[in-house]
């Protein structure tokens, strides 16, 4: 395997070109006659000068330095790295979707709007919500949208309220989204199983509580059994209940957030609904609400008027726009294809098999790694702790890096924060028993190595394109861009 690839700026040659445009077929002119000189660029951008083949080789080689779902198992907890069906990519790239301009007349995009409308309807059914917006571009963007809805709702009642309650086991985006909306974050402690402590909750909920953000199943992979009681406590104080739907892959077809008492939820199409992660986006984070909150959803909304689909930008109560145009429609098309392909029963089966896979891994690993909690079957994911491996001088980070040597991406590590040396594993339903078995054998091997040859772990990885990278050096001597020589 190729181990180092030069920067694109380090290849090519002055004057080399790798593009073509039609010859200019209108009169050429001196640029300065059309645009005054003081508005024109003075120094050229030092972009690469490469041939098409230079470019293709460079990026193809870079791609080969990556692990990906197409090449490796990704047991990343809370990330739901399931297979991304190829047909969905093809469908989203059809020119009748990919070449649509967002300001085309509605009469020319009826198929697109119909698809968006049906996607909203399907998500309503899956989540037990009354209305959905597909605008948010990612999960955290959905959270922000949710918090804006909360603020607008309470403001309409005369007091926007001050506090957002968030469990200490929550994703970091929850408090960050609440703070972005001007709310004060109040953490509520989890019990030893990572569930909400009802007494602790009662103690912090009051008339200034705007909303509680809850992840269900929790980040420890356990269903929040008391979710109805939590909803009652929160609702009694006039506050709302928000679901961080990052873990919906444990619930689709089995249980609905709306039935649990959630007023608002977001789902991640790039998790539960199979759209690819793209190395960090694009995602899509649709937000669903109960009927009482539907007027607060962002505009525009897809509606039917006189048997035609329209984009309706009128809503006096709406929180406004959270982005330009409508949403990450290219991603939404893929999720639509996924839901259509699996259908009602298929979606439920996928959930069951995701939970089966997680419990199988948990059962086979628990003799070799300590479980963070073990009182019952887990949902779609579970958490181990690497703390007993510390006796051998090995940290969870070392275990993660050693897994890379064996061709597995690492689980999510050091999260949730309430578990020491956490190792969070989510296999998803699309991994076969053979893959899981081979992962288990590798995990056992690594546990044995931790005991017998810890140096193998602390110096891992050994077989990746680069060996362990120095993050401290990167942060201390910041080099965030290439600079042209002499600049």
């Amino acid at each position: 395997m190729l181990k180092v690839e030069k920067l694109i700026f380090e290849i090519g040659s002055a004057g080399r070109k790798g593009y073509s445009l039609p010859k200019l077929d209108v009169p050429d002119a001196d640029m300065k006659e059309l645009i005054p000189e003081d508005l024109l660029r003075k120094s050229e951008a030092a972009l690469p000068e490469v041939s098409e083949l230079d470019c293709v080789r460079h990026f193809t080689r870079l791609s080969q330095l990556n692990y990906s779902v197409d090449t490796n198992f990704y047991p990343l907890g809370s990330c739901t790295m399931k297979y991304n069906p190829k047909i969905n990519e093809k469908m989203a790239s059809l020119p009748q979707f990919a070449d649509l301009h967002p300001y085309q007349p509605e009469s020319s995009v009826q198929g697109m709007l119909e698809l968006l409308y049906e996607t909203e309807q399907m998500l309503c059914k899956i989540c037990g919500m009354d209305a959905f917006t597909l605008q948010p571009a990612a999960g955290a963007h959905g959270e922000l949208t949710g918090m804006l809805i909360v603020r607008a709702y309470h403001t309409s009642k005369g007091n926007p309220r001050k506090k957002v309650i968030i469990p200490d086991s929550a994703h970091g985006t929850n408090p960050a989204s609440a703070a972005l909306c001007g709310y004060e974050v109040v953490a509520v402690k989890s019990d030893r199983n990572g569930r909400i402590d009802l007494d602790a909750l009662k103690a912090v909920v009051d008339g200034e509580t705007a909303v509680m953000m809850l992840t269900n199943p929790s980040t420890l992979g356990l269903f929040e059994k008391n979710v109805r009681q939590i909803a009652d406590i929160v609702h009694k104080a006039g506050a709302l209940l928000y679901l961080d739907g990052a873990n919906m892959n444990a619930l689709v077809g089995i249980a609905r957030p709306g039935d649990m008492g959630f007023d608002i939820c977001h789902v991640n199409l790039h998790k539960s609904f199979s759209t690819p992660h793209g190395g960090g986006g694009p995602g899509s984070g649709p937000v669903g609400v109960t009927a009482a909150l539907s007027d607060y959803l962002p505009v525009p909304r897809v509606k039917i008027k006189r048997n035609r689909f329209i984009l309706d930008a009128e809503s006096k109560k709406s929180v406004g726009r959270v982005r330009a145009f409508y949403g990450n429609t290219g991603v939404i098309i893929k999720a639509y294809c996924y839901m259509k392909s699996l259908g009602g029963d298929g979606l439920k089966d996928a959930t069951i098999e995701a939970v089966l896979n997680a419990n199988y891994l948990k059962a086979r690993l628990k003799g070799h790694y300590a479980l963070a909690v073990d009182d019952e079957p887990c949902m779609h994911e579970f958490v181990l702790t690497g703390k007993d491996k510390k006796d051998f001088g090995v940290k969870t980070l070392d275990i993660a890096k050693r897994l890379l040597d064996y061709g597995f991406y690492a689980p999510t590590i050091y999260f949730p924060l309430i578990v020491e040396e956490a190792i969070m594993i989510e296999p998803t339903e699309t991994e076969s028993k053979d893959t899981l078995d081979s992962f288990v054998e590798t995990m056992i091997k690594v546990a044995n190595e931790a005991r017998s040859e810890p140096g193998l772990l602390t110096s891992a990885p050994h077989s990746t394109p680069v060996r362990r990278l120095d993050e401290v050096l990167a942060a201390r001597e910041l080099n965030l861009r290439w600079k042209r020589p002499g600049a």
Binding site: K17, G18, L24, P27, D28, L34, L39, L40, L47, P48, C55, S63, Y67, E89, F97, D99, H101, P102, S108, V109, G111, A137, H141, M147, G172, A176, Y183, R228, V252, A255, M260, P276, H277, G279, G280, G281, V319, G320, V322, A324, Y326, S341, G343, V355, L356, N359, Y360, P377, M379, A410, S432, P465, V466, L469, D470, E471, A475, L478, L480, R481
Partner: protein, 444 residues
């Protein structure tokens, strides 16, 4: 279609290892009362059926692929070299996760680093992040940075700023006590006299969009002097292709440069996924939102790349983070990276030049028609606004019958501009297509 691989035999063996009687029994933690009944969705379908049904939907759309489009307004039809699609559809990029395990993600990380470098070169700024959702949310995050950094309360933007961007900025800032001041345009560009009066010691930032929503090129250097004289930050929201010819934000001393990266090799796709680019002067980098890749060394001293400056981010700082952003638009940033590498130093200039020449040819053609006049005399890049004798909404309906889409009627954004529409011409339009457009328009 199902994508889970389990056979009955597999399931049996797995349940035996777990010690469970059935897979359903694994859901015992969910109280009976919360179990949903059968999901009210149709049965699943095969790949063949899916293809047919999606094609049926797709065929109800009329895309820029079939029609000659003169639409702009923040989303632009440009030629996308084939290499862009070929690279970003590689599974190793497409199906990778955010590069948490750097050693297994060097391809993604190096591409982000190259993307950051290309954005810095193009904008003339010091540091860029790994991307934001889109141009509008990138602008909103820039305003947030300015308000937090200056501790001031006023945000000044022009009437000519993209109307949807204005809405997004207001939405994002709704939890903050800030005051927005909208400066009217004078002849299509910032009314500098009004601006000068309005900018004061409590102004956090002045936003300039260049070219603005009317297509006009702003005198950004003059706006810069007014803005910096009072210690406010200058935020430039720019069209990246225009930077092939126009002065870069770095050249007029902007503090933050943001914009919609869609023109850089990303399909129109009905508005998303797009790409927000975000770049700053070095002094602001610690407050920058989003992920950033940097160079480091591995244990053997070899060059490698990692995510860095993470102390700003939500997974470390939680409610004290500079932003709540987690996923960005990674694959779209890769598209921009491949696009800029592919067109390169000459291509960006030639593309920009063709946009200028062709749009000016179109303008001259339309001005010769009776019933149309120019809204502004200000210089423009690839988009301009015309006043029409007739209702533009009616005109575009008629154009559609002739296989032409556009321009964009502005009355829906500016009640006072009901007789105006903007027309955009990029390198994708041939002389013959423009002549046809003018000919159809001449009948109005």
């Amino acid at each position: 279609m199902k994508y889970s691989p389990h056979t009955d035999k597999d399931k049996k063996e797995m349940l035996a290892a777990i010690g469970a009687s059935s897979a359903e029994s694994l859901f015992e933690a969910i109280p009976e009362g919360l179990r949903a009944g059968k999901l009210d969705l149709p049965e699943g379908i095969s790949e063949l059926e899916l293809k047919k049904s999606i094609h049926d939907k797709a065929d109800k759309n009329y895309s820029t692929n079939k029609l000659i489009s003169f639409l702009g307004g923040g989303a632009y039809e440009h030629h996308i070299p084939q290499v862009v699609e070929s690279i970003i559809s590689r599974g190793e990029f497409l199906t990778a996760y955010t590069p948490y395990q750097a050693e297994a993600s060097q391809g993604t990380l190096q591409a982000i680093y190259e993307y950051q470098s290309l954005i810095c070169e193009l904008t003339g700024m010091d540091v860029a992040n790994a991307s934001m959702y889109d141009g509008a949310s990138a602008l909103a995050e820039a305003v947030l940075l300015a308000v937090r950094e200056t501790g001031r309360k006023r945000v000044i933007f022009p009437e000519s700023l993209h109307p949807e961007y204005r809405q997004v900025v207001r939405t994002y800032m709704s939890g903050y006590k800030v005051e927005f001041t909208e400066i009217p345009h004078a002849g299509g560009v910032y009314d500098e006299a009004v601006l000068k009066k309005e900018v004061d010691g409590d102004t956090a930032c002045v936003i300039v969009q260049n070219p603005n929503f009317f297509g006009c090129i702003e005198h950004a250097d003059r706006i810069e002097s007014i803005c910096h004289a009072k210690g406010a930050l200058l935020i430039a929201s720019v069209n990246p292709i225009s930077l092939g010819v126009l002065r870069s934000p770095g050249e007029y001393n902007a503090d933050i440069a943001v914009g919609e990266g869609q023109p850089l090799g990303i399909p129109l796709c009905y508005g998303g996924p797009y790409l927000g680019f975000f770049a700053v002067k070095e002094k602001h980098m610690r407050r920058m939102p989003g992920r950033v890749a940097g160079v480091t060394k591995d244990m053997d001293g070899k060059r490698g790349f990692v995510l860095t400056m993470q102390a700003r981010e939500q997974h470390i700082r939680r409610e004290k983070a500079t932003s709540n952003i987690c996923s960005n638009e990674g694959l779209m940033a890769l598209a921009a990276c491949v696009y800029l590498s592919s067109v390169g130093r000459e291509g960006i200039k030639e593309t920009a030049r063709q946009n200028v020449m062709k749009s000016h040819y179109m303008k001259e053609k339309i001005l010769k028609l009776s019933g149309f006049e120019l809204f502004s005399d200000a210089p423009f890049f690839n988009e301009f606004v015309v006043r029409c004798g007739k209702d533009p909404e009616k005109i575009i309906g008629d154009l559609l019958k002739h296989g032409i889409m556009g321009g964009l009627p502005l009355g829906r954004f500016y009640p006072g501009m009901k007789n105006c529409m903007s027309i955009c011409v990029t390198e994708t339009k041939s002389k013959a297509e423009m002549d046809k457009f003018a000919e159809v328009l001449s009948k109005h």
